[in-house]
Structures are given as C-alpha cells and as structure tokens.
Symmetry: C2
Subunit: 249 residues, 2 copies
DNA sequence: ACGACCTTAACGGTGCGTTAAAGTTT
DNA sequence: CAAACTTTAACGCACCGTTAAGGTCG
C-alpha cells in the first residue's frame, strides 16, 4: 500500500496542505493514518475520491458544514433542493446586477443610486383624496401642517401622488404621520399608509433633482422588469426628498 | 437643520446601527457631526443619498474597500469594468453549477464527482506510439516497468489513450514519469506530457468503476458544453485510477 | 548532513451580528 | 424616574493564507 504525505496528496488533489489540515480538524476528511509519534498525516489513494466529492460539492456552493452533514446522512434530496434554490437566486441576482451595471455604463454616468427598501405601515393624517395642480399641493401641505399640532406629529411626512404630472393634471395628497395614541382634528382623514417594498432614490429639495430621481427609478424598474404597486410617495427628511415607487413583491 | 441619531438614520436608510458605526470606523460614511463629549453620532438627511450610493455599489458586488476607493477617486470606468467581468464570471459559474446540479438531480444519483484540475507537464518514458488491443496494453505496461529501473521512476504512471474503445480498436500508450536528471534505456521514447486543464474522476482499479468514471466525465462535459483537447489519460495512484479528459482552456 | 518536508500555534481578512457593561436622552 | 436610546469593547462567523519556530524524512 502506497501512502501519501500531506504535501503530495495535496498536489494530486489540487488543494493546499493547509486545507487538508483544516478538513482533518473539522472531521471532514481524516487521513487514513496519523503517526501518533510525529503527528504526520498519511493519506491513501482511495481518499482522492472523497476529496473530489468534497470539492465538487463545495464548488456547487455548499458550506463545509453542509458537506459534512451530507457525508453523515448520505446525499439528501432536500438539501440539494435547497442548494438549487440558492443557486437560482444567485443567478437571478447576478443577472439583474449585470443588467443594472450595463445600464449605468451605457447611460452617460448621470444615474442616481436606487435602492430597494421595506417600509413599515404608517398611521397618517391627510386632507383626504384630492385632485389638484402642483401648486395647490404645496398650499394643502401648509394647511395640513397648521391643523396638526406639534405634539401629535410623527417625523414622517410627505405626499402621495395618485396621478403624476405626465398623466395630465397631477393629483397629490399630502400626509403627515400621527402618533397612534393621539386624537386628531375630526375634519382630517386618518388612515394607514400600507407597508410596501419600494424602489427609492434621494434628491435635494428642488424640482430638477426630484425629476432626476424619478427618471432614475423608472430606468431602474425597466431594467428589472418590475411594475408599480400603488401610488408613488414622496417623503421629506428635513430638506432631503425620498422618492418611493411601491413595487409588486 | 434636523439631525438624526444613529438608530433613526439606520431605520430610514435600511441598515443596522452597527453597520453605520462600521462605515464610520473605516471612513466610508462619517456622521455629519460627532458630539465630542458623549461620542454620539449625528447624521444629516443629505447623507441618505451617500448611504444609498454605498448600498447600491455593495449590492453590485463591490467590496467596501472598492467603494471607498471609488468614493475617493470618483466613479472610475475601469473599476466598473472589472466589476462587470466579475459579475459575468459569477453568472457563468452559477449557471453551470445549476446545470450541473440539475443533471445530478435528474440522473438517478449514480453520478461520480468530477473536478477540474490543472496538471503540470511531466517528463515520461514510453514504448512509443502503439495501436493495440486492451490486453496488449496491460502487457506493454509490464514491459515498460521492466525497462525502467526503480531509481529512475517518478511517482506518476498511467496510460495515454489515443483512441478509445468506443471508436473501434483501442489504442493506448503506457507511460511512466522519469526524473529529468536520469538517463533512460535508449530504446524507450522519452517525451514531455504537456500541461493540461483536465476534467478528472477517480475510480477503484476495476473495469466497471473506470467505465462509470468515463460516463460521468462525458455527462459533465456535455452539460458544460466543452470539448476534448488531446488524448485522454489514465493515471495510477496506487490502486486508484484517475481518469483525465484534457479540456480546451 | 542537507534540503525538503512535516508539525502546531497564532494572527489576518470581510462585513458585520451579537452580547455586555455603562453612559445619555426624552 | 424609567424606557429607549447611545457608546466602546470584544468575541464570533467561514475558510482557509501566511508567517514563525521547531521536529522529521530520504
């Protein structure tokens, strides 16, 4: 019986000696014999197959821990299915990232960052659904602020756009967060802004920047091939505007 | 000017407070103000855009270090190209891994592990090109061994298959590694086995196992859509057989 | 006896998550 | 005053790469 010391076995198996020591340590691949005197590890040729098994599974994206469990329990169908799902997700992610990046490289660098965020539901007060021009929305905002005293306000406020400027007369509904514990002016409409997954971009509080944010999100969505799931939102964080496009899950 | 403490800024930006502290620590995103007394971090709303920038780049697969460099040097074309290449590779890898896994899930689990290895060039001696039947190869091996004394031999030996059994009469050429420093029987053919990238599988030294290894590699190659680049090799590691199919880069 | 090998031990790197103990703000 | 926040510090994670200081093999 020929045996191999760690270095040669590593060369044949195309891994490092350190890797083999590590696999020994975690019980993934024990040398067929270890000299108790010198602690030298000796491997048998048959273990090349085991090592190949490990490296292929690892290359498929399994963690060493999963490989270990598979080794103990036999090749389990369910585990492989889970791995498959991970791979599918990784594939999709890589694909959209690539499309995304290509869009950035193609469009002359004028793009703004777009991020996906989960937003929780928020209890808000508004003047009720209203169709108005752009300027009227600004006035409505002011009126709303006047009707909601400081101690009732949350920190979130903004506008729900039921219809955008590009579809004729814009229709916006200013809102402001209110604390759940507080009573509010009965003339106001109090409702729950539903939780959403949204594509978001940030802009300083001028018209041009906001326009660029809208363009960026639309471009982003066309690359991702996803569609709108509700009225767009604008949120004011101090003087910074957060534009949100709700997405279908 | 409204300012945000780390917790709220983190919630708005959809990251953890710990992440923000880390970004501060590595100089990626410093809070607009830090109270020197309490060391509390205070963020400004405008920084939401910077944070979004960071998270999008990170989601594209850049390391924080790369994001940092981009921030310092401006969005550099070359860097984005490198990222693109990484993404393309990741995509290809995920795709083939998935195909690979699906093949395993489809074929009734009888598959053997196949791994890709780089093999260095090896100086070998052989009896020269020969067309022979399977049994004759075994005899030729014995003769070759007889002609190469122990002290000249390397550890690698095996057979080059110039033509396989499935293409009529098999044609194999046994070889054995020889040390570069030594002279060899002048009747023998001494040459360099070129370095290759090969798909490898391991089998115990019986005919059936070897056959399964061949089948496994062929299936693997058809999934990967890659083709053969030279004669197949069989290497003996003690009583274990390593089957190698050289691949086009 | 020499060089090429092997051993253990310890630190490093990524990008934070997760306590823990203590101070701050509302 | 208590609750909800913040701070630093330190360890942990996966998977080894990389020294360093010392024994072993051919």
């Amino acid at each position: 019986m020929t045996v191999y010391r760690i270095g040669e076995f590593a060369r044949i198996g195309s891994v490092s000696a350190k890797t083999l020591r590590y696999y020994d340590e975690i019980g993934l691949l024990k040398p067929s014999r270890t000299d108790p005197q010198t602690r030298y590890r000796y491997y048998a040729a048959e273990q090349l197959g085991d090592l190949a098994q490990i490296t292929t599974l690892k290359d498929l994206g399994l963690s060493l821990d999963e490989v270990l469990r598979l080794k103990r329990c036999g090749l389990h169908r369910g585990t492989l299915q889970r791995v498959r799902e991970r791979l599918v997700r990784a594939l999709a992610r890589a694909q959209t990232s690539l499309d995304q990046l290509d869009a950035v490289l193609a469009g002359k660098s004028g793009t703004m960052p777009v991020v996906v965020k989960q937003r929780r539901a928020v209890r808000v007060a508004s003047l009720g659904d209203m169709t108005v021009g752009y300027d009227e929305v600004v006035l409505a905002e002011r009126e709303l602020l006047g009707r909601v005293p400081e101690r009732v306000r949350g920190r979130t406020r903004g506008v729900l756009w039921h219809r955008c400027a590009d579809a004729g007369v814009p229709s916006g509904e200013p809102f402001i967060e209110v604390r759940t514990s507080e009573r509010v002016d009965r003339a106001l409409d109090v409702k729950e802004l539903p939780a959403v997954t949204a594509a978001c971009a940030y802009a300083s509080d001028d018209y041009e920047a906001a326009e660029r944010a809208y363009i960026a999100i639309r471009a982003w969505m066309s690359v991702r091939r996803c569609s709108l799931a509700g009225p767009k939102r604008e949120l004011y964080h101090d003087r910074t505007l957060e534009v949100q496009f709700p997405l279908l899950v």
